[in-house]
């Protein structure tokens, strides 16, 4: 039932007026996010991720289609949605620089109607959790980028939202700050069943590390949707193994391995040939119809006088999935992508 879902979207489109031609930021999105999910929208700049978040957070009305958040319609039930959501964006500079960290959070707590004492208590609690105790009396304008984003994250939790929207939350953060933030999101979600996060990101690792399910988005369309594992499997039907041996097998070498039942191919692992693995070893890339063929490969290697040194299954990355689906990498912008990221 759509009302039981954290997010439900059907045929959502968004067209921006622009000259010379209108820009289609979303071209008909269908999406269901279950309560308690950590859901990711993965796509390059201009894919339409932020536009979708703006619609779901009631900042934009879809040109067509319907969307519901926590069972409430984004067009007609905005007041109810705003009581149960919050949003944190990367690079956010909200609030007032002359306030200190505590005051800033308290001010936002008032916008959500927290009673005065409860507001201060929640503020202090969140300051401690995100690790801003030392900066609690520091003016907001003097915070570093990482500290600022911790503050923004704490702000996003003030009203104890049921659905938290994170729009590129680690944008511009250093490795440690980004890791801290990711850990906080996981901990917050784990603290209560039913808390849902919708993350937009163009960092593959972030999506893979955090999200239960991911939708790969490009040019306003969802191209693929599933768990990270499902998405990877989607572009790689066969199993690929990297096998390191002390030397090439005798009696036919690679050709012999390739002719085994269930083996699709057996080639040197690197472009530079088997030597790339090191002077005392060779690396092979063996494609199998399924994992069960691996046993015969290992047996054949041993029978041909080689010793197995290493064995690893090669997994395609989400970037491989994206390239497979879109035909280009993340860094290569597509046409008409400008307004969609706004």
């Amino acid at each position: 039932m759509p009302d039981d879902l954290a997010i439900h979207a059907r045929g959502v489109t968004r067209v921006y007026k622009a000259k010379p031609d209108p820009v289609t930021a979303l071209g008909g999105v269908d999406l269901d996010v279950e309560p308690g999910e950590y859901f990711g929208l993965l796509g390059p700049n201009g894919a339409g991720k932020t536009t979708l978040i703006k619609i779901l957070t009631t900042l934009l009305i879809p040109t067509s289609g319907t969307a519901r958040v926590a069972g409430f319609d984004v067009v007609t039930e905005t007041a109810k949605i705003r009581r149960v959501i919050n949003m944190v964006a990367g690079g956010e500079q909200s609030g007032y620089g002359l306030l200190n960290v505590r005051e800033q959070l308290w001010m936002f707590s008032q916008f959500y109607g927290l009673p005065n004492r409860e507001g201060w208590r929640r503020v202090d609690e969140l300051i401690e959790i995100v690790g801003l105790q030392e900066q609690r009396q520091q003016k907001v304008r003097s915070l570093s980028t990482g500290q600022r984003q911790k503050l923004n994250f704490a702000r996003g939790l003030l009203n104890d939202p049921w659905v938290l929207f994170l729009d590129e939350p680690t944008l511009g953060l250093d490795v440690a700050a980004a890791r801290d933030l990711r850990e906080h999101t996981l901990a917050w979600k784990a603290a209560a069943p039913g808390r849902t996060l919708l993350l937009t990101t163009h960092y593959m690792v972030e999506a893979e590390q955090l999200c239960d399910r991911i939708a790969i988005v490009d040019r306003g369309m969802i191209l693929a949707l599933g768990t990270p594992e499902e998405l990877r499997r989607r572009v790689q039907a066969e199993s690929i193994f990297r096998i390191e041996l002390d030397r090439l097998p005798e009696n036919g070498g690679l050709a012999a391995l390739a002719s085994l039942p269930g083996v699709l191919s057996a080639v040197p692992a690197d472009e530079d040939g088997a030597e790339a693995a090191g002077a005392d070893r060779v690396a092979l890339k063996v494609a199998l119809a399924d994992d069960s063929a691996l046993t015969s490969v290992v047996t054949a290697v041993a029978e041909r006088g080689s010793h197995l040194i290493g064995l690893a299954k090669s997994e395609p990355s989400l970037e491989d999935v994206f390239v497979e689906l879109v035909g280009r990498g993340f860094g290569e912008d597509g046409e008409g992508s400008g307004a969609a990221s706004q």
Binding site: R82, V84, N86, Y96, G113, I129, G194
Partner: protein, 291 residues
């Protein structure tokens, strides 16, 4: 232990089910929350004393010298000082209310205001109250400095009535600011230019530096549309002996006009905010940074 607490409601439906009392309390708290940075800014950034009091007083002084050079009645000096004090409120309305959404959007606050569960009127009311504290300080300073420096004397026989006129002036004045603020949602940056456009004409038509009675037939139109002009005209009549002859209408009538204006502007602002919010959401004006 992450330290994060479990949810306070059992499910989102329960969390979204607010009583009328809770909605009202949330909006009152939002007013307080938004007023806070304005008020606290008084102590954190003392430069406002120079920019908000000393510099504007130069303009007041210029008119005082002109009237004295022309040999005008001394009450005109008082008119100018009181006008200078009230100018602060008009400037506050134009720059800190009407154009506020422009600044808020620029800072990234506007989206957060919209996604929070309070009415935008509460944010604007918070700005108004916070601004009133600052602006009242400036107005008071202008009046005190004016009386010390230029010997202006005030004869207030009905202080409660004067306070009532002042309050009645503030309601439509800030209601007008809220109405202008809503225009920002329609015109984006163009509304900022509107504020610039309005500043000087209202100085003139508002009778800041002279009694609007001298505008002749135009004064009637001004009294019917500009709360600053009506309020100032009524206050001058209550503060300076003999100023009644310079007033456009009796104080009682002007108070009635102010009361009607207050209702019209506040209701108009509320309706406009609701309508224009929907329009802005439809056209993407809340989120597109270049607009």
């Amino acid at each position: 232990m992450s330290g994060f607490r479990a949810a306070t409601a059992r499910n989102p439906r329960e969390a979204a089910d607010w009583s009328t009392g809770r909605i009202i309390r949330t909006n009152l708290r939002a007013i307080m929350g938004r007023a806070y940075p304005r008020i606290i800014g008084l102590t954190r950034e003392p430069s406002w004393v120079f920019f908000e009091i000393l510099l504007p007083f130069l303009a007041v002084s210029a008119f005082v010298f002109v009237y004295r050079a022309l040999g005008a009645a001394e009450e005109f000096v008082g008119f100018v000082v009181l006008g200078g004090a009230m100018t602060a409120f008009w400037l506050n309305v134009v720059w800190m209310m009407a154009a506020q959404f422009y600044w808020e959007k620029d800072q990234g606050n506007l989206e957060l205001y919209f996604t929070a569960p309070m009415h935008l009127m509460s944010i604007l009311a918070g700005m108004a109250i916070g601004g009133l504290v600052l602006t009242s300080s400036r107005a008071l300073a202008v009046i005190v400095i004016g009386s010390v420096l230029y010997g202006v004397s005030y004869q207030i026989e009905q202080p409660l009535l004067l306070a009532a006129v002042f309050l009645l002036t503030m309601v439509p004045l800030y209601g007008m600011g809220m109405l202008f603020a809503s225009l920002f949602l329609l015109w984006g940056r163009e509304a900022f230019h509107l504020a610039q456009l309005l500043q000087e004409p209202i100085y003139f038509l508002g009778g800041v530096n002279f009694p609007i009675r001298h505008l002749g037939v135009v004064s009637g139109l001004v009294v019917a549309t500009l709360p600053l002009a009506v309020g100032l005209d009524a206050m001058r009549q209550l503060v300076f002996p003999g100023a009644a002859s310079q007033g456009v209408l009796p104080v009682g009538t002007e108070m009635t006009i102010l009361a009607v204006m207050g209702v019209v502007f506040l209701i108009g602002a509320r309706l406009a905010l609701g309508w224009l919010e929907t329009l802005a959401r439809r056209e993407g004006r809340l989120t597109l940074r270049w607009q």
